[in-house]
Symmetry: C2
Subunit: 114 residues, 2 copies
């Protein structure tokens, strides 16, 4: 059995699934609503499978209403990924680039003032 963060990241590692999440960010939708943009390029069962992956990652919840299964985004599941990434933020933000440049200067002994 895999850890939840791995399950989460691999759920996000597919453009179809990310598109489904983007659609759900707008609001609830049925399976066929969600499938519609993809039906030219893949079958309905394929979409069902993608939804199952998203459900297992906790990103989507399904309910029942007559013959429909309204799907809803559970954005909270993304928090775990965001929290994992947070400590790395300094490694890509502009301020870090400046720090890095400064440290390079220091290492050269080429420090301004003193």
């Amino acid at each position: 059995m895999k850890d939840s963060l791995s399950i989460l990241f691999s759920a996000l590692a597919d453009p179809t699934r990310r598109a489904i999440l983007a659609r759900l960010a707008v609001g609830e939708a049925s399976v066929s609503d969600l499938a519609e943009p993809f039906l030219s390029s893949m079958s309905l069962p394929a979409v069902t499978k993608h939804l199952k992956v998203l459900e297992k990652a906790g990103l989507v919840t399904k309910s029942r209403e007559a013959q429909w299964r309204p799907c809803k985004l559970n954005g909270r599941a993304l928090q775990e990924a965001a929290e994992w990434m947070e400590p790395y933020r300094v490694h890509w933000e502009e301020s870090f680039d400046r720090l890095e440049a400064y440290l390079k200067i220091v290492q050269q002994g080429d420090v301004p003032h003193e």
Copy 2:
């Protein structure tokens, strides 16, 4: 060929690779340095493979120094993932919970003041 965001997320979808990134966040390290914590549970070639996945995702760069290949974290690659996630932030942050709760009250016609 897969899109870069999918390559990135699937690179992150493995605990060994995330551990390697965490180690590299501390500073540069050779392949055997990086492999050392895992050698009880997997072989060196396995680690080499993981590093190749991280390189292809742009998360790690390798250089050469004698027989060593010092590896370096390229945190900037994570920015793309962070930017993808950003619009979803409102879906998990506390403020959104409060907004959601408020909207529920509004829908019930149970609005304070007016």
